[in-house]
Chain length 320, copies 2
Amino acid sequence: MNDAVTTDSRALPMPDLRDSFPGPFEVSAYADDIERHAGRWLRTFPLVGSERALSALSQITGQGVARTFPTAERDDLFLCADLFLWLTAFDDAHGEATGARDPALLARTIGDFVHLLAGHDEPPGSAGAFTAALRDLLGRFRERATPLQYLRLTAHVRDNLFGILWEAHHVHRPDHITMPDYRAMRPHTVFVRTVIAMAEVVLGYELRESDRALEPVRELQTAVADLAGWINDLASYAKETAHGGAGTLNLPALLMREHDCDTEEAFRLASRMCEERAAVAAARIVELSAGGGPLSDHAGALKSVASSYVWHIHHSRYRT
Amino acid sequence: MNDAVTTDSRALPMPDLRDSFPGPFEVSAYADDIERHAGRWLRTFPLVGSERALSALSQITGQGVARTFPTAERDDLFLCADLFLWLTAFDDAHGEATGARDPALLARTIGDFVHLLAGHDEPPGSAGAFTAALRDLLGRFRERATPLQYLRLTAHVRDNLFGILWEAHHVHRPDHITMPDYRAMRPHTVFVRTVIAMAEVVLGYELRESDRALEPVRELQTAVADLAGWINDLASYAKETAHGGAGTLNLPALLMREHDCDTEEAFRLASRMCEERAAVAAARIVELSAGGGPLSDHAGALKSVASSYVWHIHHSRYRT
């Protein structure tokens, strides 16, 4: 670890989200089951290199998903967990610094997944563990989701994969990324739109398309999407900078460049931005919860999705 | 033009598709209207650099779309034409050799489109003509298509954009691409899955999901998708090699490497592959047309989609 580039994020200003998301956050009774299932799934599809990493990823995914959808059924929680494991493990193994070293190789690997996502079962070029695991996931989602839900979900998974490739291109060239570029792409690299799309699948409600287009719904989703990415940036800042290179494509780094300020001031600004987004989300959740029906279900889902990201701030995955 | 690397494709063996797609191919009475509309749309959204290129692109798009969906209404034909113009102009301006020079820039540009495709109206980073034109297109598709059709279409547009980026990474490194890689990705770079997805929108039928999963339907679509890409490769070979570099990522070049053979033999092999795919498609079209209903409509749509690509073989865009 290079102390010259490492900042202890625990000493930096962090957002205070207690007004908007006071907690305690509801947790599914299946949290430990999910964690055990995650361990089994990662042994069936070896996406993670070491037993230690497997155990850590199973733990945070189990606990995280149990907070994302605390009222969901066990099998649905397993399905969500597996998709999240797949995305996270792929990003860890092939994205970030590895992807930055050879983006063309990353594009070829993603090409196999695009083939499966586009609905083609014939084996693509490679037959690696990630391909096999994605095929397993898509089959289970096809059984569980309506055609609309399936298409929405697989569209967002494409966006996640594109986001990973986009990030690999810019980890070492963050100066090419403007704040609007970053704000547009960050929700995809943190997978939050995919998590939101899963809510309808696992909680058994379906928004009407006219509801989906309502301004309060759109604003709520955007606020939660922003919040998820920014919280993740702040929480993982120390870890990312410790590994070198990857620490420059995140909200504090962009703010430092934009405002010509130091890390502490950037964290202060970023914290205020998080608090503002959390307040917007919380107000929209109250508003949409009032009417009942699918809109109310959706508001409840977004509340727990946001809560699970808020919970992540303090998780040890992000302590160096 | 460098004669040393240019091959006159007119002298090479080409597929004989008359048994499977005998023609004459039905043409919409609106062909000239589409061409005029395309010219107007490209003046509203300046996606093409020169008046000469604008005129050539409007002409082939007008004539091509008039053969793709000969029975469609005028406004639907305009919508199809505009999407095809957008994809083709984007590939010409930002993909291929330009994309290969700076794939990271291409990824950033595509990032703006992913933002719009994911359903977010807030202006992304750039406000260029391609972004404005895509916004126009998506608004019109949203009005015209069912939610399922819209999601299917926008998923395939994502695949097209990913394909353009994938191609940019490999134009100068074609040796990294295996035949299965190529077969998986080529339908996306020729936009044919997107065209197939448009059929239901503009011809007013809707396949049931259970029909979509039928083996004859899947095989028909895959055969037409293969055929479209391979025909395009053969027809554009001379043009592509004349421009240098881009001519190495196509079916003849892959076959030359795989079989260690010369251009003529590669064209002979490729032609046989096209004829085989055309025969499969034609047989499935006959089979699916027999029963009436949406399956029959779909078979008819695939027939005219395939015919429009067959027609392209002899179009002057692909003569150097």
